[in-house]
Amino acid sequence: MTLTEPSAPAGRKLSTAKAMVEAIAQEMERDERVFVLGEDVGSYGGIFSSTTGLLDQFGPRRVLDTPISETAFIGTAIGAAVEGMRPVVELMFVDFFGVCMDQIYNHMAKIHYESGGNVSVPMVLTAAVGGGYSDGAQHSQCLWGTFAHLPGMKVVVPSNPADAKGLMTSAIRDDNPVVYLFHKGVMGLPWMAKNRRSIGPVPEGDHTVPIGKANVVRPGSDVTVVTLSLSVHHALDVADELAGQGVDCEVVDLRSLVPLDTETILDSVGKTGRLLVVDEDYLSFGLSGEVIARVVERDPTLLRAPAARVAVPDVPIPYARPLEYAVLPTPARIRQAVLNLVGA
């Protein structure tokens, strides 16, 4: 999908990957400071199609394949951002953060603060996240909690094509470093089982989604399901199913972890009195605990039942399908958790 193609009819549908690329391409057209770098972002177009077509459209000066040296090229993005460029740099899988985290969390995220606001680092760090296709313990993680725990970077996680475009546009225009994590399972890739909502309507032209605003993707009165990324779709599927059984779920798609939209969570829990957090990241010391804490540090009496969590239970992601699906936040686990909550 490139901007030089005739624009699609109103209501046109795009995959999440194409929506993401469209946002990057539009910003590259709009702002010559924007450029893209990373492994296989050029002729391959991104292993998960996050940059497809950009090399053809913008050429090798603005779409740069890098050696496998994440520390060097993420650092390069940082230095370029410091000098006023606006790089979009891809870490192919978020699982690889361990080879380059120092650049990310000690430099990208801290320079603005350490400099007393005198140096800005306007860049977007993209990475693919998530499992479900037997890619094993080093290629299936979400890890958003790890990034969100460390100060100085915004963290966004789109679940659908329109948000993918809107959040990418906002991220590129943001004067802060933004970590943009896209789940492989929502990209709409032709070679991976995909959620039916991974292809959907995407606004043409300028489209921004505010960073830091959650989205109530399904209103409901009995249980609040706070979630994000691929799990949003599982939650919606379960909600649809349980609606038939008289259980009315409200589903909150966080979209941003940093800043976290606490008010939307509180409003919802205030209404339903029941909270389930569904998270494909590891269970402990992460997002699910944070969401629960934000509620009970305001008012524990909002909860009519114990808060519940469905997440990866502190285990490396196993390879074999029966094991992997035992630890992923599957619709079955979500359904059971909701039913436990309303039974309580």
Binding site: D40, Y44, S69, T71, Y133, H139, Y319, L323, V327
Partner: protein, 326 residues
């Protein structure tokens, strides 16, 4: 080289190729009509090593099961050449309880402590643990060594540099192997590496560096022999880069649209090359070739049958083995 040694190299190469072809077949067998990476009996990423047999065969001919090998995301050829249990390895790739990791690891995470074999899916990060294995061997006063493998793309990663420096400094018995198959996924060597030979980088660590240009198993065998002897003699590490060939895609499903050298690939296949050489030298004929292939096929199909017959893991065990029991 002795005829028997040459035939052993050939046998290893045939076994590897037979294995990779069988995995290729099994991998794609149940991913149709539209390729779905997560579907089928062997799901997930699959990085096959066809074309790179000379490296594994040539290096591992010098090792015993007491030596260690750390391999990469593309590990099968080294696993096989180093004598990893073929049935349990295959069962792991099929995600079965009888697999090396009981199905928890998968094709990029094969651990066989019986022959000190491991691999990792993170680029160049298999190098550092090899140093520790070598240190342990050295401390026990043995002449056991560790072989650490990466691709040429990986040689630009920080872990490569740190490992070479530390191994050289501590004179650890390590042989560093770089498989230069010209590509790191879609990125050609020229777009990733600022020098033409990683062997030239060895000088930056004061260790011997050799580049084997022609993907010849015998040339690899020769270079590795020197490096292994040096390591066993307590003289420290060496680096060997082999210009080899990625016969297929980076992983299965890779359409290789980016690949400028695709036309020339079949003609560079090292297996017929070596076979023809051995034929020309009178060491192989049709019957012998057929015999090697049949033997390989039998082992490989037995391993695949073993895997398929093995039970799938019980979901209730998913949390086992996060921690060792006291």
């Amino acid at each position: 080289m002795e005829a028997q040694d040459r035939l052993d190299l050939y046998r290893t190469m045939v076994l590897i190729r037979t294995y990779e072809e069988a995995i290729l077949r099994e991998y794609h067998a149940d991913k149709k009509p539209v390729f779905d990476i997560g579907a089928g009996l062997v799901p997930g990423e699959m990085h096959l090593s066809a074309g790179q047999e000379p490296v594994a065969a040539g290096v591992c001919a010098h090792l015993t099961g007491d030596d260690a090998v750390t391999a990469t995301h593309r590990p099968h050829h080294f696993a096989i050449a180093h004598g990893v249990d073929l049935q349990r390895m295959t069962a792991e790739i099929f995600g079965r309880t009888t697999g090396l990791g009981g199905g928890r690891g998968g094709h990029m995470h094969l651990f066989d402590p019986a022959v000190h074999f491991s691999c990792s899916g993170i680029i160049a990060e298999g190098y550092p643990p090899a140093l520790g294995q070598a240190l342990a061997f050295q401390r026990r006063g043995t002449d056991r060594i560790a072989v650490a493998v990466t691709g040429e793309g990986a040689a630009n990663q920080g872990a490569f540099h740190e490992s070479l420096n530390l191994a050289a400094l501590w004179k650890l018995p390590v042989v560093f192997v770089v498989e230069d198959n010209d590509w790191g996924i879609s990125v050609p060597r020229s777009a990733s590496t600022c020098v033409t030979s990683n062997a030239d980088r060895a000088a930056g660590y004061g260790i011997p560096g050799v580049r084997v240009e022609d993907n010849s198993v015998e040339a690899v065998h020769e270079a590795a022999g020197q490096a292994v002897a040096r390591a066993r003699a307590g003289e420290g590490p060496s680096l060997i880069e082999v210009h080899t060939l990625r016969l297929w895609g980076h992983f299965e499903g890779d359409a290789q649209g980016y690949r400028s050298d695709l036309d020339g690939v079949p003609g560079r296949d090292p297996l017929p090359t070596y076979e023809n050489q051995l034929r020309a030298d009178g060491e192989l004929d049709d019957a012998k070739v057929a015999g090697f292939r049949a033997a390989a096929s039998e082992r490989v199909e037995a391993a695949i049958a073993f895997a398929k017959e093995s039970p799938e893991p019980d979901p209730a065990t998913a949390l086992d083995f996060v921690f060792a029991r006291a």
